[in-house]
Amino acid sequence: MSSDPIWFQPAPRPSRVPEAPALPERERVALTVDGREVEVARGDTLLEACRKLGIDVPTLCWLETLTPVNACRVCVVELEGARTLVPACSRKAEPGMKVLSDSTRVRRARKVVYELLASSVDLSTAPGLDRRMAAYGARPDRFGAGATVARPVKIDNDLYVRDYGKCVLCYKCVEACGTDAQNTFAIAVAGRGFGAGISTEHDVPLPDSACVYCGNCIAVCPTGALMAKPEHELRAAGRWNEAAQTVTDTICGYCGVGCTLTVHVQDERIVKVTSPLDNQVTHGNLCVKGRFGFEFVHLGRPR
């Protein structure tokens, strides 16, 4: 059979399973959090040190797939010897650090951050935030007479809506649209103070902007300011019912990349498509077809 072409026989098995080259061992860093000793690798953050100890540190603008921007300050911890509280999500662990994750000062800071946010922004669709606020005893009404960010919902296309009255300026959408994932750069933060907001170039409507409707901004939005249209409409009609939804992981039916789609179904209709952040193919990101191109599945179904 040796004269047979190479593709006639199954390929021989290599003597060793092919592997990626080993990464250099990272130096270990020992520190204490709340008096407990912990060791992490050099380059790891205080947030990672806390989580290693099972300490629950709240975050809002941080996400494991995005570069920290230190915008929200809800993850602050107290670092011995530092004048100010430090953001756990970006501060790198150093040998001998002494960190307090739940001191009075830390709790007060987080409480006030939540109060300031909730007094100026509509957080009604931010998952889990009400529990957090209760845990810190936040009372946004203390600032109730202050300025609020009230803006009409922007509905300028049929795929997703932008309700910047719910935006906490966490920058996640900007990062996901930029270098951290999509590299489209359709949006940025524009303006100052209460005039600051997420904007397309020259504030043009989305269909006139650089947006390619991947929806990777929606996927990272922590407050529901960015929302796919079916969810927005169902909520407006009072029919959005997460308890009645099934959530199923499958693989996208379009190109051959093999993106995992998490399909959210209510009343036998697809109401939302997401992808797991920890998926090695997508890291939570999808393209426009994967996230929005499911309407054909509803053909022949009752409305």
Partner: protein
């Protein structure tokens, strides 16, 4: 390649490579999430070289764009190879120990000087030289391609020309280097792996290899025809000769997707019996004698699909199919029952386990592991095997394990549909980001900037014809003509036009395309038609 029908590398490797040749692929639009991985590599310092007649949205990310003439890929590959050899940049050790046929190959490329390369491809000699040096000198380098390589009458030769480059430089079989066809459909890899090829049984096992075939015959308890069957283009030829009278089409819309639409329609409507199993009443289904309404495989059924990185992953039923539609498996089982074979109740996992028992490269992939490990890459020989991150590492063992990888001599052969005074413009076809194939699935979601079919022309050609954006023109090829609005596109060079085939109800692009096909792969030359443009009254 080299006995395995799949891309050699994993997506994560492109994040850590040093050089990417993206050849005949607009991955930014056609494989957007793969392009995310590629961009991570670029941001870490990898050099991106785009080889494409169009300056696509992918090419705009490239450090170097080689805007070659359509169908001159082999000429370019040969000129790159000759420069690599002339500059002494080939990987001598790899060529000597892991390959065969180098001397014949070297003799064949000898005439492909940079100057000749420039003359045949339109790519400046200095750019060809840069590509050769960048690719050969990079510690790790990858070639990724799509249909710009394979939708040609000499598709297999095009692929071989790229494989030769990797063999010459040793850029295959090690981490961060490889040869990667990006698959256009979610399970085109898995379909081939499962034997939906004319010459293969599940596990890419050759049907004409008697010992392999006999294993299947024992398990299935029936005789398997010992010779390969027809590929798609041969089927159409067989229809032409009256040898093929009945066709069962599952999840494909050849009436809209095949080249030379008039011939396709004549042959499909001339069949004695046409059965179509699909989600909607496609153009092909409209011509069928029997239509079997099917469930949507990706969200209304259970099973597996295989991606471009050879990753087998589970698809799951997220919702039941609409009334009247049935799962593909159910339909096939029912059909078998009526033909006198009771296969019992369809059970996707049991069928998968049968695949595992017959295909050694899938043996280790239990449903439980596929779910727990986010899919597994073949080959995965047993339950403790992690799956191979990259293929052909055996080529780096000394002495090389198994047969050497052969260089193959191929010759440049320009597109069949020649340009002349009557048909002076080269039309190439492809996809856009938001749409997909014949639009059966994507036509129904509300992409805000969908603009429908157009004839995309370079600004120079638009001027020459006195047409502007939106003007309607007649596009004429040797096979037929269509009318379409003009879209002026600066990514096109003079003499090059572009259309999609996403909107067959508006414009039947495939009336224009040529069915010159590769004799081995059966792929038609969708990428190269000769046209002329006739402005219509405003």
């Amino acid at each position: 390649m080299f006995g395995a029908g799949g891309g050699t590398s994993s997506y994560r490797e492109i994040e850590e490579t040093d050089c990417v040749l993206l050849w005949g692929s607009n991955a930014r639009e056609t494989h957007p999430i793969f392009f995310h991985h590629l961009l991570k590599g670029v941001r870490r310092g990898a050099r991106l070289i785009a080889v494409d007649p169009r300056r696509t949205t992918s090419a705009r990310w490239a450090h170097l764009w080689a805007g070659l003439d359509v169908g001159s890929d082999i000429a370019l590959a040969h000129a790159i190879a000759r420069e690599i050899v002339a500059a002494g940049l080939e990987n001598r050790e790899f060529v000597e120990h892991a390959t065969s046929g180098f001397e014949e190959y070297r003799a064949a490329i000898e005439e492909w000087t940079l100057e000749r390369g420039e003359h045949e491809t339109g790519v400046p000699a200095a750019v060809i030289r840069d590509i050769a040096h960048a690719y050969a000198s990079a510690p790790r380098a990858m070639i990724c391609w799509t249909l710009g390589i394979t939708e040609h009458h000499n598709a297999v030769d095009n692929v071989v020309a790229l494989i030769n480059l990797a063999l010459l430089t040793g850029h295959v079989g090690c981490y961060g280097s490889g040869l990667n066809p990006l698959r256009g459909q979610n399970n085109v890899q898995g379909g081939g792996d499962m034997g939906a090829l004319p010459d293969r049984l599940p596990g890419f096992q050759h049907v004409e290899n008697a010992p392999l075939r006999e294993r299947f015959e024992r398990v299935w308890g029936s005789k398997i025809p010992p010779l390969r069957g027809w590929h798609l283009s041969q089927m159409f030829e067989a229809m032409e000769h009256g040898e093929l009278a009945a066709l069962y089409v599952i999840g494909e819309n050849p009436m809209s997707s095949e080249a030379d639409h008039r011939r396709t329609r004549r042959l499909l409507t001339g069949l004695e019996h046409l059965v179509v199993q699909d989600l909607t009443l496609t153009a092909t289904a409209e011509a069928a004698d029997v239509v079997l309404p099917a469930a949507a495989g990706w969200c209304e059924s259970e099973g597996t699909v295989t991606s471009s990185e050879r990753r087998v992953q589970r698809v799951r039923r997220a919702l039941p199919p609409p009334a009247g539609a049935r799962d593909d498996l159910e339909i096939l089982f029912e059909l078998a029952r009526r033909l006198g074979h009771d296969w019992g109740r369809p059970d996707p996992e049991a069928i998968w386990n049968e695949v595992r028992s017959l295909s050694p490269v899938h043996a280790g992939m239990s449903y439980a592991r596929l779910a727990a490990e986010g899919g597994l890459q073949w080959p995965c020989y047993d339950e403790s095997h992690p799956g191979e991150l990259f293929l052909h590492s055996r080529l780096w063992e000394r002495p090389v394990r198994g047969p050497r990888a052969p260089f193959s001599v191929v010759a440049h052969d320009p597109p069949v549909d020649r340009l002349d005074r009557e048909f002076p413009i080269r039309l190439t076809t492809g996809r856009r980001l938001e749409d997909y194939n014949t639009g059966v699935q994507t036509g129904r979601y509300a992409y805000p900037r969908r603009r429908g079919e157009s004839l995309d022309l370079s600004p120079e050609d638009a001027d020459r014809h006195g047409v502007r954006d939106g003007d309607r023109v007649r596009v004429v090829s040797r096979r037929g003509s269509v009318e379409a609005p003009v879209h002026v596109d600066e990514s096109l060079r003079p003499g090059l036009a572009f259309m999609t085939f996403h909107f067959p109800d508006q414009v039947a692009t495939n009336v224009l395309t040529i069915d010159a096909t590769d004799p081995r792969s059966g792929t038609a030359e969708f990428k190269a038609s000769a046209i002329r443009v006739e402005p219509l009254e405003r």
